[in-house]
């Protein structure tokens, strides 16, 4: 019985990695899968509370400000679109860095890693501005100045979930930027040239894309729907 299975499946007959990926990269995939469940639990909890409530604040009224715009400007969705595109572009530069790494092109890896780090810092700055602005309007954990879309009194569920989930995502972006800076320093120190491969850049890239992926969901759940 056992010999029969060994004969039919070549991948599992030993002598080579059945998944054809390096150990660290495989474990990064499993970590990201578990992280997907963490974020999923957050967002589903938010959805459950929203479904169990009669009214909910209108995101187009809450998120209608823009930096340096005059007070009281009505620009819904504009600032968050900027944030979304910043994250998409930084994801693209990360792909290009990974590709350059596979081609052992150190100069391009350095260039694209720097662009990715700049994108990450730009996103974090945008988020810092938005949090600060909302805090000035009176929104924080346990405080919600925004009434429901139908004009009824709102609870603090909206702000609690908003700050918890975007904060958790922002923390992921922050760790991603730190990891990318470490990768950039290691590249500059020729660590990967000595190893003969840029697999660490690929693993950092997986994490960075995951951060972008989570933003796709957070952006939709809080700002659009």
């Amino acid at each position: 019985m056992s010999t029969a299975t060994v004969d039919t499946t070549k991948s599992w007959s030993g002598g080579k990695s059945p998944f054809n990926v390096e150990y660290g990269k495989l474990m990064m995939w499993y970590f990201l899968m578990s992280d997907a469940f963490t974020f999923g639990a957050f967002l589903i909890s938010y959805g459950t509370i929203r479904f169990s409530t009669n009214g909910w604040p209108d995101p187009n009224v809450v998120f209608k400000s823009f930096p340096f715009a005059p007070e009281g400007v009505n620009a819904p969705l504009v600032f968050v679109s900027v944030m979304t595109f910043i994250l998409i572009v930084s994801s693209v530069t990360m792909v290009l860095a990974v590709k350059a790494g596979q081609e052992m092109d150190k100069k391009s890896v350095v260039k694209y890693m720097i662009w990715t780090i700049i994108g990450g810092i730009a996103f974090l700055s945008c988020q810092a501005w938005e949090w600060n602005h909302l805090h000035h309007e009176g929104a924080w954990w346990g405080r919600n100045p925004f009434i429901n879309a139908d004009g009824t009194a709102s609870s603090t569920n909206f702000t609690n979930y908003f700050f918890t989930i975007t904060g958790f995502h922002g923390f992921h972006v922050f760790t991603g930027v730190v990891i990318n800076i470490i990768m950039l320093i290691m590249t500059l120190l020729d660590k990967f040239e000595q190893r003969g491969h840029y697999l660490m850049i690929e693993k950092a890239g997986l994490y960075w894309h995951f951060v972008d992926l989570v933003w796709v969901f957070v952006f939709t759940c809080f700002y659009l729907v």
């Binding site: 991948s11 792909v95 309007e137 659009l224 729907v225």
Partner: protein, 158 residues
């Protein structure tokens, strides 16, 4: 299944460009739908737009995972160990959202206070915040002021 072997070198800048354009277009369509939804009051149409946005969101997620994270180019065994556990989300999302909705319906049926509170309009307090002022104005429906007394009564109960 034999062609799932190593072909990591086949996808280059062309694929990256293509996926970047797809992601940008999907995001722009999402935003157009979002802007369009601002003026719409029909509950059915709003629900349809929200559904469309969620489908576009899932499409974006697919392109990021499949191409930017290269999952599509991995061996099928690996794809399965990552994707199959994620199918738990079907139960996770369905069960919890239905539960939330059911809780709302039960409370609306059996908890008169909950039901009453969620029908009383709020008179926007004249505070110094410019932003919240505009928020009140945007929601200046005809009967905002009609229930001022009721609101005061509710707030006394707290």
């Amino acid at each position: 299944m034999s062609h799932t072997a190593h072909h990591e070198e086949n996808h280059g800048t062309g694929e990256i460009k293509k996926v970047t354009i797809i992601l940008s277009v999907l995001t722009i369509v999402e935003l157009i739908l979002g802007f369009w939804m601002i003026g719409i009051t029909s509950e059915a149409l709003r629900l349809a737009i929200k559904g469309t946005i969620i489908i576009l969101m899932l499409a974006k997620a697919f392109y990021i995972v499949a191409y930017f994270m290269h999952l599509k180019h991995e061996l099928k065994n690996l794809i399965m160990t990552v994707v199959v556990p994620l199918s738990l989300f079907v139960w996770f999302i369905g069960a919890f959202l239905i539960d939330g909705n059911s809780f709302k319906n039960l409370r609306n049926t059996y908890d008169p206070y909950f039901k009453e509170r969620s029908t009383i309009k709020v008179e926007k307090k004249a505070e110094g915040h410019g932003g919240s002022h505009a928020a009140g104005a945007a929601h200046g429906t005809a009967d905002t002021t009609a229930h001022t007394k009721d609101t005061a009564a509710v707030e006394n109960n707290h």
